[in-house]
């Protein structure tokens, strides 16, 4: 806000008003345009902390990413894009974590969206039993990931666990498994835990979306005699588009960040079959590969952004295309 020179303050009236009045007038018009100057002080404390402890470190991650810094040596070298080259080509640990992250994300997004939508559609009415069930389904959301991990460690325990115990109890011995001990399937069992953890939270978003659909639409559909599937496809699904986008975007990001759950169930550092990108970055960091971990974190950020964009496009397509 540079103060304009007095000469340029608009067309001046034939007889200039006295000086103090002119100042008062200009102040009024500035205020109308930019608001009270004090407004700019309100975000200041937050901005200062945010810039120093959040924004600058985010930018620095890019600087670290092109170095071989180990975190404590005074000097380090710029290695250009070598870190990224290694990530793209020769790092089995990273590609393993990448593939686990994607498998985990896919299963969680599909199952969690499906389950939360089905549950939401059954609990849309605000009856007493619905409210109670919603509260029950939501409960896991407020627990810590480490707590959830311990509960599921016991469920999945191959020798004493609930899952195998229950399967044997109903004579389905054939379905028993070593769960997290089965390297090929461990990541999917981890995904089930995540779904159990957060389905209730997403259900609430769907309920809010479903409750906003006008009844008349369903009545009109009933008069036209459309099938249940058609009613869902042409009334419900397009109407809950905003809720679906939110649920899918949130679930995706949440699944990429499922850091605590992995450490709780897979140990620290986690076993390879459960290692996802967020834990991989942490492990590199803990091994004092600061520069390399920073490069991993940038790929991680880019991947989340990319997946979010692709999903948004996909959801839009299914909703607009009749």
């Amino acid at each position: 806000m540079s103060a304009p020179s007095p000469v340029k303050t608009g067309p001046s009236p034939a007889a200039d008003p006295p000086f103090p009045e002119r100042v008062a007038h200009r102040r009024r018009s500035l205020r109308r345009r930019y608001g009270h100057p004090a407004f700019y002080l309100f975000p200041l404390p937050a901005l200062v902390l945010y810039v120093i402890f959040f924004a600058i470190p985010t930018v620095q991650a890019f600087q670290y990413a092109v170095t071989d810094w180990d975190g404590y040596s005074a000097d380090y070298d710029s290695v250009g894009l070598d870190n990224f080259g290694q990530l793209a080509g020769g790092d089995d640990l990273f590609s393993n974590a990448m593939s686990n992250s994607l498998k985990f994300m896919l299963v969680v997004v599909v199952l969690q969206t499906l389950f939360s939508l089905v549950l939401a559609s059954m609990l849309t009415r605000n009856s007493r039993s619905s409210t109670l069930l919603r509260a029950v389904f939501f409960l896991p959301t407020i627990l810590s990931s480490v707590s959830v991990a311990f509960v599921w460690k016991f469920i999945y325990d191959p020798n004493f666990g609930l899952a195998n115990g229950a399967l044997e109890g109903v004579g389905l011995d054939a379905l028993t498994s070593s769960y997290l001990g089965d390297d090929g399937k461990a990541i999917y069992f981890l995904a089930l835990t995540q779904v159990w953890f957060h389905t209730g939270q997403m259900m609430v978003i769907f309920i809010a979306g479903l409750q906003q659909i006008p009844r008349e639409l369903y009545e009109a559909a009933a008069i036209d005699g459309v099938s249940r599937w058609q009613r869902f496809r042409h009334v419900t699904w397009p109407m809950i588009a905003p809720a679906t986008s939110i649920v899918i975007a949130y679930t995706t990001i949440q699944s990429f960040k499922a850091f605590d759950l992995v450490l709780g169930l897979g140990g620290n550092p986690p076993q390879g079959s459960l290692d996802i990108l967020s834990t991989r970055i942490y492990t590199s960091f803990a091994n004092s590969e600061f520069g390399y971990a920073a490069a991993e974190s940038i790929v991680f950020m880019a991947l989340i952004a990319l997946v979010t964009v692709i999903q948004r496009r996909t959801v839009k397509l299914t909703q607009s295309g009749a």
Binding site: L139, S144, V146, F154, I205, F290
Partner: protein
């Protein structure tokens, strides 16, 4: 008719899937290991409180509990204070400057913690803020400011402009308008944000894991994670730890469900 029975069955099964593991855990915290393994679904053969005295008596978990309480309370209060000030500012600055400041602050929501944690660690280390509860409070504040501003500014922008015009006519300054008008009117969103922040800060693991080495400074999730290494398959003891760590939020949830659900949803609805 068939569909109604199907609906009930499905809801019942899902409710069991949620509740049974939690009840097994709760009952398990009063059992011996052999009792838990042989009768996981039943009540304890004999109620043992020794798990609790062991877990709390060793000091580790009670220290962690106090640390978590201190860190969470301070983090929530300060994030709300700074966040509501910023939200008020951006809601009242007219035109693009208000949106620019808002956009800059809210952009932080799309930066995953793993992306900037390394430079953050270096910075906190240099400033002597590792192994310190103050450091944890500070990192909690900056990492959740974006979402707090997002929720609060959304609410404050929706308040009718006439309120502000009337306040200005009465000669009420910006600060008093914030304190006596905007803040009281925004109470529902402040409460929702407070609960959302409390759940995040109480359960936060990443930052304590990065910043804390000193056992005396551990918070609950970190102390629990260390438990795992110590008591590998002593499930009753692990479960006792989980009960102790979860109790405050679960009790709060039982009485304030509606606020918890509103809060956790407000935080997830970002667009």
């Amino acid at each position: 008719m068939g569909s109604r029975i199907g609906r009930r069955a499905l809801l019942g099964v899902y409710a069991a899937l949620v509740l049974v593991p939690l009840l097994v855990m709760l009952a398990g915290s009063f059992k011996s290991t052999s009792d838990l393994f042989s009768n996981p679904f039943s009540l304890p053969e004999e109620w043992r409180f020794s798990n609790y005295s062991e877990v709390l008596g060793s000091g580790d978990l009670s220290t962690a509990f106090t640390n978590s309480a201190v860190v969470s309370t301070c983090s929530v209060t300060l994030t709300l204070l700074l966040g509501s000030l910023a939200a008020y500012g951006v809601a009242r600055i007219p035109g693009w400057p208000g949106w620019a400041v808002y956009g800059f602050l809210v952009l932080g929501m799309s930066v995953p913690a793993q992306a900037n944690m390394i430079p953050q660690f270096v910075l906190f280390d240099v400033l002597g803020l590792t192994d310190s509860l103050t450091g944890l409070v500070l990192i909690n504040i900056v990492s959740t400011l974006p979402v707090a501003v997002f929720i609060l500014a959304g609410f404050m922008r929706a308040l009718p402009r006439e309120i502000y015009e009337a306040a200005a006519l009465d000669g009420v300054g910006p600060w008093r308008t914030y304190r006596s008008i905007t803040l009281p009117l925004s109470l529902p969103s402040v409460a929702a944000t407070a609960i959302f922040l409390l759940v995040i800060h109480w359960n936060e693991l990443l930052y304590p894991l990065l910043f804390i080495n000193d056992p005396e400074k551990r918070t609950l999730p970190l102390a629990l994670l260390n438990f795992q290494g110590e008591f590998l398959t002593n499930y009753p003891l692990l479960f006792t730890g989980v009960v102790v760590a979860s109790l405050p939020l679960v009790v709060g949830y039982i009485f304030l469900q509606r606020f918890f659900i509103a809060g956790m949803t407000a935080g997830s609805v970002k667009e």
